[in-house]
Symmetry: D3
């Protein structure tokens, strides 16, 4: 069984993430969206909020599971018997960092692959931090995040202030 893991901080989940998730889940048998909790303090949304956001957006995708992990991604992937880690690639800076991580993870556990999908052209300019900046100043983020969490993001950002 091909188990793929799609890791990230999802702070919050964007249309770019959802695009990768939708495409990745068709390429494997089971896709685990793994939200990292290591750097919880630096995140804008609490871990529960981030998880709730992702779950709302993926609840109709039958082979998708939302989970969390602490510690090294590669250890988590190994425990889950994952065959691959899947990541979206947007830009050169992504590429450099992801290349380094992929090579390092390969060294730590040779059995687990890292596969990359190019982020769809419509979302290549998106990032979680850009969305937070826009929402924070009451800019419009419709189309940048899934509709089901659109209002929640403004709400939670305000509450956090």
């Amino acid at each position: 069984m091909k188990i793929w893991i799609c890791p990230g901080s999802f702070d919050p989940v964007t249309m770019g993430h959802i695009d990768i998730i939708k495409r990745a889940r068709k390429m494997c048998d089971h896709l685990i969206i793994a939200i990292g909790v290591n750097d919880e303090k630096k995140a804008t949304f609490t871990f529960d909020e981030r998880k709730e956001f992702v779950e709302k957006c993926t609840k109709d995708m039958d082979n998708v599971e939302v989970d969390t992990f602490e510690g090294l991604l590669i250890n988590y992937a190994s425990k889950k018997k994952a065959t691959a880690i899947v990541k979206g690639l947007r830009a050169i800076s992504d590429f450099e960092y992801e290349l380094q991580m992929a090579l390092l993870n390969k060294k730590l556990d040779e059995k687990i692959e890292t596969v990359f999908l190019m982020t769809s052209i419509n979302y290549s300019h998106l990032s979680s931090s850009a969305i937070k900046s826009i929402a924070k100043y009451d800019g419009e983020i419709k189309g940048l995040v899934p509709d089901v969490i659109h209002d929640d993001i403004y709400l939670k950002l305000k509450k956090g202030k």
Copy 2:
């Protein structure tokens, strides 16, 4: 009327910034240098110092206005009826980030362009943070910042200590 906006944190303004400003103001009718105040706390110089520095350096340029803004740049640009945002490009990492911002701003307000000028060869190695590092340890920054603010920078950096 072609109104261009040259945004930045200008912490402090460098010869590289001045080079872009001088060239940009010839390409439009009115150039607004817009100092962002969002991240005031992380800046080395206070907002007033940064504004004073830019004003000193541009006081003889008749179609240049120094202003400040809070919130989203694109909203500020729209309010000012700007036709374009102008940025200097130095390096790959600049390029990636600016590309993402330009595409995002285009999505937020299709009427406003982002135009890029290549930073002149003599200043392509300059950055505000490099200048602060040099000045902090009593290195020489003559030629890296405009002469009129040269002494002020050392003075203000010392005071801040």
Copy 3:
């Protein structure tokens, strides 16, 4: 008067080119689309075909002129009293090459600027050579080139065989 020059081989003109042309012509008073004839032999379409394609696509844009040039772009720009050369930027490899050319042209004639616009997200994956590959094997290029030249491209490519 702000005269801008948009140079290229336009072999053939793509939706990406048209996007840059439409945006650039609003930023200046007069836009000259300058088709380079230096490397005629390597081009797929003849010089006349390339010029005809661009003219068809821009005939309703009142401040746009289609011209040709031989020799150094900077000399041509100077003769035309251009204030700036405008180029679309897509990717890192574009960026590197264009940066080098901009710096070199600045050295050859300091009065003429080079300004860059980011190619719109919808056309960032387009290139003239990709279009030719697709058309050559009867792939569909609708949406990749302006409609008015769509059929011509297939026709001319076939004739050339």
Copy 4:
């Protein structure tokens, strides 16, 4: 059934290619190695030689098929009912080109994904053209190409002279 296509000119196949092939074939049900014949004239090895080399190197891999194609890769992939195209990524220049191709292919046929694997660290400096340069001047290519075709490469290169 997950059918993946690994396209290339394989002129000749290198240890880097074999590394990607070995890893890719575990991630899908059936892997087609598709040698492009469009630019036959520019290739150093004839099409038959290139195919023979790949077949020799993959004859023990049960879910791997070696095939050839002419025309657009995406059309070939569609005809083969492929679910994905798989490519190895080495460097920035690879990345830029492959990103453009992936986005373009996605536009031409939305159902077919492009997935990327990072070339293993031991082969990231390898390219077919580097190998040909070394072999041409009697340098040693052991470890750079699969052992089973090592001698053939010198032989064929000499014959071609």
Copy 5:
């Protein structure tokens, strides 16, 4: 006499650093490993720990000296009568930053060169921060850091918690 300086934060020293040190010391007469103390607070290991680690790893290299510096690297290099600064290059992001620093340092003191060595292929995926992440979660860093400091790193990281 050719005195080279190999600067860094060495937090902690990795096999990648040691590779550069070993190669650099053969290219000069005397190599000074210069640990910067400016950003002490952000470092994971104390300055004494970092120095001790480097000393342990280089104690058998006769023309290597371990030293520390505060302030501008170029001033330190000048005081030490260094003829060159030597740095390892791994990736694009390294390259951009190091290019800027090299040009700036050249401007500050024209007599001192900056030379670059490419990090060996086996260590190109290594960074001090990656090692700390792995060790922190009890992952295995054997082969990533010199054996003589392997246990110390786990020990010190635990103590620091």
Copy 6:
């Protein structure tokens, strides 16, 4: 004795090359400028012209030798008992290619290092091909090539027509 090799096609030698040569010769005991003759046919200047140009520009540099080589650079370097190959780095595309060559050469002969110097800021926009384009159309190349070969370049380019 530290013997360094500075390889290239030098078609023709530029101020950028001379800058690297001047700086490299101070870092070693003996510097060999090695002009590659493999791709003679594609060069604009004949091998004799290229060699003559370099010799004219370096005749006052006592530890510099001008030589030619055919075949693999690494074999030539080994035969000359070189300890290092020295290259100038300008841009990302340079970097990628040179990184690949350095790693490959290291694999072919572990004893020979490749060291990189950043091309001086004043010459970072220069290339042999840019110079030829300018000279071909009677543009001015003063300051881009050494004065002693300035007239020769125009002369030889004309003759070749």
